[in-house]
């Protein structure tokens, strides 16, 4: 075990992959010598050479088109999009191409070797274009997997699993936690199964569900609730697609209440899918309507970020509403 922040943990997962497969390539804007604007790929070009770790021209569409081709060839393609906000120029390559390679070819071809890493989310005073959480756009597209880690240990294990998974995976990294979240991480290889949520704390009165950077927020809310005598069960969804309905439903059957929280705007956010499904699965067990605490239906602002984001207080207020229903 070693103390690592999330960037080190991601770097370690990439390092293991590069050592394991002689054709694995890491590429994206500024990822070469510089190690990426957040330094997640630091030192890897020195170690594996310019042919395998390289800067691309500034074209997200090009990066994902290239990655699809490289992955179809059979090499692990580890593409970085510098900010999740800039994944949209590559949208067509991801939702029409990566996601449908296998299906449209009757499994003649696939891009299972593709992993897309990209920093997402707010909390860094980044305004509209450096704070978005675009997971729901991709969750509407069959053929992709979507994963969001909450801390360094999860980041390394989930990223390794994403890379080894035989499907294209988008790995959203909570950039606010890159350096802020530090923890014990094994130096050797390990994986955390995709598609499985984790119950990180058991409770009896209400279930709180989130992913990525929002986990910290619901844990703070749970703390407040605890002080008010409310026992919260906390679940990290970890994989958005596919998502672990069973673990969530089991918890809601037990507690009878659910609060889902994410940073993205509420309308058509992934919380909507969860609320609809859990309402069907757990209808007779629900003690109150499922609450969603999410971003507003506006672009992510700069000046009034505090007002905009789903903070611990808003989650706590939702817990109380739910308990008092």
């Amino acid at each position: 075990m070693a103390k690592m922040n999330m960037l080190h943990a991601i770097n370690s997962a990439l390092d293991i992959t590069m050592a394991e497969h002689p054709q694995a390539c890491i590429f994206g804007e500024d990822v070469g010598y510089f190690g990426g604007v957040f330094r997640a790929t630091s030192g890897l070009q020195e170690k594996y050479g310019k042919h395998r770790v390289f800067n691309t021209p500034l074209t997200e569409q090009g990066i994902l088109g290239f990655a699809n081709g490289l992955a179809a060839f059979g090499a692990p393609a580890l593409a970085e999009i510098q900010f999740a906000d800039y994944i949209f120029p590559a949208f067509d390559q991801i939702v029409n191409e990566s996601a449908k390679f296998r299906y449209r070819s009757g499994n003649e071809f696939d891009v299972g070797n593709l992993t897309i890493r990209t920093p997402y989310g707010g909390g860094i005073a980044g305004g509209l274009y450096h704070s978005q959480s675009p997971e729901a756009y991709f969750a509407h597209t069959p053929g992709l997997k979507i994963v969001v880690p909450r801390n360094p240990y999860q980041a390394k294990g989930l990223l390794r699993a994403a890379i080894k998974d035989d499907n294209p995976v988008i790995f959203f990294e909570p950039k606010r936690l890159y350096r802020a979240s530090v923890g014990e991480v094994p130096e050797e290889d390990y994986s955390i199964e995709l598609g499985k949520a984790e119950v990180i704390r058991e409770g009896t009165d209400i279930t709180l569900l989130a992913w990525g950077a929002q986990m910290e927020i619901i844990e703070q809310a749970a703390q407040k609730a605890e002080e008010a005598g409310i026992s919260c069960e906390i679940i990290d969804l970890r994989s958005i697609l596919p998502w672990d309905m069973d673990t969530v439903a089991k918890s809601v059957v037990k507690t009878g209440r659910l609060v889902v929280s994410h940073e993205a705007p509420i309308t058509n956010g992934f919380g909507a899918e969860i609320a609809a499904t859990i309402q069907k699965e757990c209808f007779l067990h629900l003690e109150s309507p499922i609450e969603r605490v999410c971003g507003l239906d506006t672009p992510y602002p700069l000046a009034l970020e505090k007002e905009y984001v789903p903070d611990a207080l808003k989650v706590f207020a939702a817990i109380k509403r739910s308990m008092e229903f």
Binding site: F34, F54, Y86, G127, Y129, L296, D297, L302, E307, A317
Partner: protein
């Protein structure tokens, strides 16, 4: 001979490939580094007033950049981006346009909006995202914009303004087209200038924008600021062949390359480009070669990817000083007065900074307005719920709580 493929074929019997560098496009340079008009070069027609306005804009932006870079380091603003090294490119090109020509910039072109009259107070209000910011505190610092000044508000996603400029310019041309014949009936009265970096020229939007402008004849000036780097990525990892200019040629667009640290060369080239655009109703491309003297932004540390020697080599090629030397030689500028004015500007900047810093943040209503022309019902409901929440916990939201009705 022409054929249906729209290419005039020049038949050859030699199996020959053309090299990517074959064009070797020349670079227009008028002023020496010491501010003398070079032998064989002709200074453009430029009156004293315009020349001094270009100079005072460059000087102001230097001082503003210096101070605000410092303010970011002190944690007073969240982010900053300097124009350092490209002041002449941006200012002199903007100066060669009509005041109501449209400007669509990438982000580093604060000199262009200042040339048009964006005031020190307006700069500060945007940088501090306070309630007087024209953009209502929604975007990061340096994302300026002003309808009055014909300067489209900056958007962070790179390259998106390039095809937009093509469309906007097409609208500008449409006013002058005869409905029957489809011919231009008069000179076009306005053009659009579109600035972007050599990095952004790799985006798909660039290729789409140039191609459509060429095919449909949009009077747009594509101004590529080739400053050597896109964050840490040097130009040789960005493109091959004869620069961005060669691509203009490839798309069938009249193209020129200029020394971007030479205000007179930039001014002359942009004036000529504008003339082509208005007379022929077609796009023009300018590639300006300069060096990004500073860091990419305040989030960047260039010492990690370029050498001290390289930086030192370019330190001397200061575009502001080069133009200043020329002005001194024209007897249009007085050195002592210039120094006094600089001191005064420094004081003004500091004073304006202190004022803007204390202006309140935008109101809660500014958070939800302008998503649509009027808030849709779901958002109106969210807004009401948020107000109620803040009223219940006013201490947690000190910026807005006291101002909620």
């Amino acid at each position: 001979m022409t054929n249906p493929n729209n290419i005039s074929l020049n038949i050859s019997h030699a199996l020959e490939f053309i090299d990517g560098h074959a064009l070797n496009i020349p670079t227009l340079k008028i002023l020496s580094d010491q501010g003398d008009v070079l032998d064989g070069a002709t200074a453009p027609d430029i009156d004293k007033e315009t020349a001094l306005r270009i100079y005072s804009t460059m000087r102001f932006i230097r001082l503003l950049d210096e101070r605000m870079q410092g303010a970011q380091r002190q944690g007073r603003i969240s982010f900053y981006m300097q124009c350092l090294g490209e002041e002449a490119a941006v200012t002199a090109s903007a100066a060669a346009l009509k005041e109501d020509d449209m400007i669509m910039a990438q982000y580093r072109e604060q000199a262009a909006i200042h040339y048009r009259g964006f005031s020190l107070e307006q700069f500060m209000n945007q940088l501090f995202s306070n309630e007087k910011d024209l953009g209502k505190g929604r975007q990061m610092p340096v994302h300026y914009g002003s309808k009055e000044l014909h300067y489209l508000t900056i958007s962070s996603p790179l390259g998106t303004q390039i095809p937009q400029a093509t469309g906007y310019a097409y609208g500008q041309k449409l006013k002058h087209i005869d409905k029957e014949t489809g011919e231009l009936t008069s000179e076009i009265d306005n053009v659009t200038i579109c600035y972007f970096g050599e990095g952004a020229a790799s985006e798909g939007d660039f290729h789409a924008g140039l191609n459509m402008a060429a095919v449909h004849g949009s009077p747009v000036i594509f101004y590529a600021r080739n400053n050597g780097y896109a964050i840490s990525t040097p130009a040789d990892e960005q493109f091959k062949g004869d620069g961005i200019a060669a691509r203009g040629v490839g798309y069938g667009i009249k193209t020129i390359r200029v020394d971007g640290a030479d205000a007179l060369a930039v001014y002359a080239a942009t004036q000529a480009a504008r003339k082509i655009a208005v007379e022929n109703g077609e796009p023009v491309m300018i590639e300006s070669i300069a060096y990004r003297l500073g860091a990419h932004s305040t989030s960047d540390d260039p010492s990690g990817y370029r050498t001290k020697d390289e930086e030192a080599e370019f330190k001397n090629s200061c575009p502001v000083n080069r133009f200043k030397q020329w002005l001194l030689k024209q007897n249009w500028l007085d050195e002592a007065q210039d120094d006094a004015e600089k001191e005064k500007i420094r004081e003004d900047i500091l004073a304006a900074l202190k004022v803007a810093e204390k202006v309140q943040k935008p109101t809660l209503e500014d958070l939800v307005s302008d998503v649509y022309d009027t808030p849709i019902p779901s958002l109106q409901k969210q807004y009401d719920e948020l107000k109620a929440h803040i009223k219940a916990y006013p201490d947690a939201y000190p910026v807005t709580a006291g101002r909620i009705k």
